[in-house]
């Protein structure tokens, strides 16, 4: 479904990603793990068209999307759930969800999609007229995931979904992401929490200093001595 070949990205003179190649097949849940500054987020940003200074090729469903602007990429069915401040704080929950469907010109099915999101996250329905900035961290994360679903993506990119969340909420978020994948949406997730990420994914790539150093199934990676040593605390 998605193939990255020899991707390199630069910020001014610093190369953040050096020749990364990876592949995501339809229906898979693939994770990208690694330490801070390994180039995980940059890879995702390049995928969704937010980083422009890049070499290599990005192919989605057989078509080259390298260097395409973000709106084209979203229109093709790749949604990006960015890290950090994930919602429009002064818009209501409902408006945030509508923003997710922004590129859909017609109103067709927006309401039914929104109902589906509310079904999945009942707390959002309760708070739908509330400013998104007043939600708790976990609720904001659910809203961000709901918003990504509103564009009816084929592939969702998650950037550090566990960042800044309480441990029990992290578990819940991972559960939701697994569920989204089971329901048929392909997922590529960047995560620092290697243990959680490896436990839930089909396959994973380990990035170090901008390069893929290891790849394999989640359980293989969990058993790998290097991964255990460096990322799982021995």
């Amino acid at each position: 479904m998605l193939a990255i070949e020899g991707l390199s990205c630069r910020y001014n003179k610093i190369t953040a990603v050096k020749g990364v190649s990876l592949e995501v097949k339809e229906g898979e849940l693939v994770t990208l793990i690694g330490a801070n500054g390994a180039g995980k987020t940059t890879t995702l940003r390049a995928l969704s068209g937010l980083v422009r200074d890049l070499d290599g090729r990005i192919v989605f469903e057989g078509e080259d999307i390298t260097g395409a602007p973000p709106r084209d990429i979203i229109a093709r069915g790749i949604a990006h759930c960015p890290e950090g401040r994930r919602v429009f704080p002064y818009m209501t929950v409902e408006e945030n969800l509508e923003m997710g469907a922004y590129l859909r010109q017609t109103g067709n099915g927006i309401n039914s999609d929104m109902e589906r999101v509310y079904e999945q996250f009942p707390v959002l329905k309760e708070r739908r007229k509330q400013a998104a900035g007043t939600l708790s961290g976990g609720e904001q994360q659910m809203l961000a995931i709901g918003r990504a679903l509103m564009s009816r993506p084929k592939l969702i990119l998650f950037d550090e979904p566990s960042l800044g969340l309480a441990p029990n909420i992290v578990q819940k978020t991972f559960g939701i992401i697994s569920e989204i994948c089971r329901q048929g949406t392909t997922v590529l997730m960047v995560e620092q929490n290697a243990y959680g990420a490896l436990g839930m994914c089909h396959r994973s790539y380990l990035l170090e200093s901008g390069e893929v150093v290891l790849t394999g199934t989640g359980s293989d990676m969990l058993d790998n001595p290097h991964v255990r040593e460096a990322y799982l605390g021995g």
Partner: protein, 352 residues
């Protein structure tokens, strides 16, 4: 409720010339109205896209000069040697041309500053206003420089050969101002309540996130700049044909600052904010003049401004809205208490 309030206010504004006979007061109101239109256009950029344009008078001045020059006619030696002679054009055509040219200037500023935000956008807009001012001051062949363009024709309507009316008086000019103000308000309202307006607010709140949901940030910033500049240009044209003299002082920085004050105190990012702020700061100096000396006037003006910014940092309109909602809520709550129904607490405090 809001609509009724708006229409009531409009009816009040329409009625003013019927019971205010004082021409001087009417003049103050027209001036304040011109500023309100300028402030409304600034609010589109500052309030909705979050970009502070500190050169907003440039668009106002471009509208004013374009409309004045076309209605007077001009001849000028062009850069490539030839001479360009333009005869006097009808006022309404000149006025429209002023709007278009100001809009083009907005497009230009929007384009060249599409990559810069915050402080850099402010600097570019200030520089642009200074450049336009220097042009107006020094291109004497065209603009008469500091000698000013005089005897500019006022607004007029005519059915060729049959009937003609030229509007010298305060009352017709007041209504022209009101009409342009209402049209500008409707344009801005429709824009910000549309899908485009939602996109502008999204990029104000979180630009990277807005991009990640597929909003073409540059396009919407440029669009906002064009509409904003065109409306400021309309205010400039209105000013020109009302005052009937235009000099490089229309580019003074203080006018931009006045508009910014009106937007901030009234409430940026609200439709009514610039109108409320504009009326307060447009009319306040005149009210103060009644009972204090000029030094005390400006001190009071400053004190009112500081008080508003200190106590109502979001502006007057958002503060009033919140006050109103809270009153309504507490009244609803006490109604529930009285009828004895268990007040289900809908106001759970959100965690975190």
């Amino acid at each position: 409720m809001n609509r009724a309030l708006g229409l009531g206010f409009l009816a009040f504004l329409v009625s003013i010339p019927f019971w205010i006979g004082d021409q001087y007061l009417l003049h103050i109101l027209i001036n304040a109205g011109i500023f309100v239109i300028g402030a409304m256009s600034l609010n589109l950029l500052l309030g909705y896209t979050g970009q502070l344009s500190l050169g907003h008078v440039a668009f106002f001045g471009i509208g004013a000069y374009t409309s004045a020059l076309l209605s007077l006619g001009f001849d000028v030696t062009t850069f490539w040697g030839g001479e360009l002679v333009v005869g006097p054009q009808p006022v309404w055509l000149s006025f429209l041309a002023g709007i278009v040219l100001a809009g083009l200037a907005g497009w230009f500023i929007g384009r060249i500053s599409f990559k810069v935000r915050g402080a850099y956008f402010v600097i570019i807009t200030i520089s642009f206003a200074e450049v336009t001012k220097l042009v107006a001051l020094n291109w004497v062949d065209l603009t008469e420089g500091p000698m000013a363009l005089i005897s500019i024709p006022p607004f007029s309507v005519s059915i060729p050969g049959i009937w003609e009316a030229t509007f010298y008086g305060k009352t017709p000019n007041y209504y022209i101002m009101l009409a342009i103000g209402v049209v500008s308000y409707i344009v801005i309202k429709r824009l910000v309540n549309s899908r485009l307006g939602r996109a502008m607010v999204a990029l104000r709140e979180n630009e990277p996130l807005a991009m990640s949901v597929g909003i073409d940030v540059t396009r919407y910033l440029v669009l906002a700049a064009v509409v904003s500049a065109a409306i400021a240009g309309a205010a400039g044209g209105l000013y020109t044909h009302y005052v009937r003299i235009v000099d490089p002082d229309v580019f003074l920085f203080i006018y931009t600052v006045t508009m910014v004050i009106m937007v901030i105190t009234g409430g940026k990012g609200t439709l009514a904010g610039p109108i409320v702020g504009g009326i307060i700061f447009g009319v306040l100096p005149e009210i103060l003049r009644e009972f204090m000396g000029p030094e005390a006037q400006w001190v009071t003006y400053g004190a009112v401004m500081i008080a508003i910014v200190m106590f109502l940092p979001e502006g007057i309109v958002p503060a009033l809205t919140r006050f109103w909602e809270r009153r309504k809520e507490s009244r609803d709550a006490s109604d529930r208490m009285i009828t004895g129904r268990a007040a289900s607490s809908a106001t759970e405090t959100p965690s975190e």
